[in-house]
Amino acid sequence: MARWGLVIDLDRCTACQACVVACKHENNVPFSTPETSARGRLMTWIQLVGVEMPGGTTAMMPMMCQQCDRPPCTDVCPTSATYLNPEGIVAQIYPRCIGCRYCTNACPYAVKLFNWTAPEWPESMAPMRNPDVSIRPMGVVEKCTFCHHRLQQAREEARAAGRALAAEDYVPACVQTCPSDAMVFGDLDDPHSQVAGLAASTRAFRWMEDLGTRPKVVYLREGE
């Protein structure tokens, strides 16, 4: 079984935010206003975070759920609404979620987001809704799923074509959109995959890896 991972090359990333927009569209993530953002209620599954690097430079890191192999958020969930699935994706089962927000507090990356209000879109955007992703109601926690619905679809396509799923069949929206090819996605357990190779490079690091969360989002350090 695959163990899905994402490598982000900070040398290639131009902080253009195309991934942020792609993610919002793909996953029916509603807009936030500056006011809600100021109250700490920004709703976005991926955002660019300025991070001070060793040497004093600031890097803009695309930050989404780090899909930890040892996720602190699942340990505290009282209903098992969030758990690590067999393919390494930290899933969030919305109908099971009671909105207690233990997980949002346990997450050191602050990438689990609570729905303070029911989502709203301008009426003209109604036809743009992605039917493959449900709309989360008020009162549940949501997060990046590595576009899990795309994996489900890729699996169905492969099954219909009578062949096995290939890693290339499954690409999250942010990775597909990235204009500078800074993002690479694939199976970390396949030693011949590009992600596995990059994740083992000397430039690779995981965000806050000293916490022991073992993220499956791997960053590649700038300039070397």
Binding site: P86, I89, A91, H149, E156, R159, A160
Partner: protein, 178 residues
């Protein structure tokens, strides 16, 4: 609280009030129960027109449910699916009605089998890849002479899981929930 007003003292119970409350309660309970049975949980739906599946048994299901082998949704038919055999209104449907069905609103058939929005269900996966017969989830709908008022089988999580367990298919929550 003053010491000469002991806190054990209560106003005397009014027998009139309690009796009236009892009557209201006694009258309300059957009313609610009957109302519940009539309205909830499965009031039969009214379809916009008569339809007889048994009369159309010569046709493949996919002729009218066009998505059933190729997409997630089976879909319900539109007038152009019938036009090959019914150039004019079929027996039981008036010409005026037929004309309005041909308009942009279509038939307006009411779907009776549902899963909630947060569930990932695909007909293609089950019918084309899984080779499951329609009867396993829809019972006799394909052979009925009248539209079913309610779903003959409630395809709920228990039904999905019991078949998946039996067939050795995934029971991972994230496979079915999105």
């Amino acid at each position: 609280m003053s010491p000469d007003a002991p806190d054990t003292e209560r106003p005397p119970a009014s027998p009139r009030t309690t009796r009236r409350q009892w009557w209201i309660f006694a009258a309300l309970t059957p009313a609610v129960a009957v109302g519940w049975l009539l309205v909830m949980p499965s009031a039969p739906v009214a379809q916009p027109a008569v339809f007889n599946h048994a009369r159309h048994s010569a046709l493949a299901c996919v002729a009218c449910h066009r998505g059933v082998e190729s997409r997630a949704r089976a879909t319900l038919p539109v007038v152009s699916d019938c036009a090959k055999c019914h150039a004019t209104a079929p027996p039981g449907i008036s010409e005026d009605q037929w004309k309005s069905f041909s308009g942009p609103q279509g038939f307006g058939w009411v779907q009776v089998t549902h899963v909630p929005d947060h569930v990932n269900f695909s007909h293609r996966r089950h019918v084309a890849s899984g080779r499951l017969a329609c009867v396993s989830c829809h019972a006799d709908v394909g052979q009925r002479t009248t539209p079913p008022g309610t779903a003959p089988i409630r395809v709920d999580m228990k039904a999905c899981l019991s078949c998946h367990r039996q067939e050795g298919i995934t029971e991972d929550c994230a496979a079915c929930h999105r």
